[in-house]
Amino acid sequence: MTEARVFKIENRLTKAISLPGGKTIAEALRGADERIASVRDDCLASLLAKSARLQQLVELGKREADQTAAAGIYTTANEVFGIASAFEMAELAEAAYGLCDLVDDTRTRGAVNWPAIGVHIDAIRFLGSQVGAEDSATRRTIVAGLRAVQARFAGDA
């Protein structure tokens, strides 16, 4: 068996961030919050395009049982989760995460449940169109419904 080599290294990040100047951490955090807020609208606008892409992919998947459609849905749902969670859209983030779970399970089992995926995508399209809307009760009800679908799907395994 080859022996592992264990050695100390210089942490060049320590040196770089300790140079004189820069910002206090409070200033840096404030600056980051402001910069992120400045791209919020663009990011949220992209959710509509991603929802439309999910719809195209699920239609393709239902029609042709296409595995690349499942992979595309996973990637796009992961992107939706990234944006929704960054901007504290809790219900949309949960729906997108649940869709990732569903597709991931599907890949493992080798049998895609297109109807369950379709229900999630319908929910994501609705939740994505609710940016800034006050009606959180409806959103929570939708997410509760998705959890029931996931539980049912897990029970079928």
Binding site: M1, T2, E3, A4, R5, V6, F7, K8, I9, E10, N11, R12, L13, T14, K15, A16, I17, S18, L19, P20, G21, G22, K23, T24, I25, A26, E27, A28, L29, R30, G31, A32, D33, E34, R35, I36, S38, V39, D42, C43, S46, Y74, T75, A77, N78, E79, F81, G82, I83, S85, A86, E88, A93, Y97, C100, D101, D104
Partner: protein
């Protein structure tokens, strides 16, 4: 509002640090770029593919690498593995923060085993990213090079070699404990090891 874990006068200078940001998702990359710009960084190396990022690793000196796990042409775990094995010094030793969206437990282990310093689940608000940068800057673990692993020492607790193996390090000891060959230390001897006193005379 939660209390800040940082001291009010604590400073960070990222203005000229070499930071690679790799994310294939356009909006995800933009969020990272804006966050680091807010932190005071002037020009991060922004990449949307692993191939592009490999070019940066070859051409620039990096102090920090931030990688999303979902990269289109090579997943983030594979990219970090490549960096550790083939990235060339000094960049192969740079701290790596791996960002994961949808995460399963098996993928967290993959993050640790590919050679990343830290794996962070999304969402990653600025406070969390800042903490991880500070942690990465205080990283004191040794670096390990073995045929199947290259990266920070995963044995950060002194628990010996993995269960069921003899260990591959020259200082790995057997799990079997033999008979004592010398008398036990008394408490004064033990205290002296922790609090040495000046020798008289």
């Amino acid at each position: 509002m939660a209390a800040s874990p940082f001291m009010s006068n604590e400073r960070i200078n990222l203005s000229n640090a070499g930071v690679l940001l790799l994310d294939s998702h356009a909006e995800g990359l933009e969020l990272l770029v804006q966050m680091f710009a807010g932190f005071g960084m002037h020009t991060p190396h922004r990449c949307t593919t692993a191939a592009e990022a490999q070019g940066v690793v070859r051409d620039r000196e990096l102090n920090l690498v931030v990688v999303d796990t979902a990269i289109t042409d090579m997943d983030g775990y594979e990219f970090v593995k490549w960096l550790r094995l083939s990235g060339g010094a000094p960049n192969r030793y740079a701290p790596v923060i791996l960002l994961a969206g949808h995460t399963k437990a098996s993928q967290v282990a993959r993050g640790r085993d590919c050679g990343a310093n830290l794996v962070v689940r999304k969402p990653v608000p600025p406070l969390v990213m800042m903490q991880r940068i500070i942690w990465a800057s205080k990283e004191s673990r040794s670096f390990v090079e073995a045929p199947n692993y290259c990266g920070p020492d995963r044995r950060f607790r002194a628990m010996g070699p993995p269960v069921g193996t003899k260990g591959r390090r020259h200082d790995d000891l057997s799990v079997e404990i033999g008979e004592a060959k010398t008398p036990n230390l008394d408490q004064d001897d033990i205290d002296a090891m922790f609090k040495p006193k000046k020798a008289a005379g």
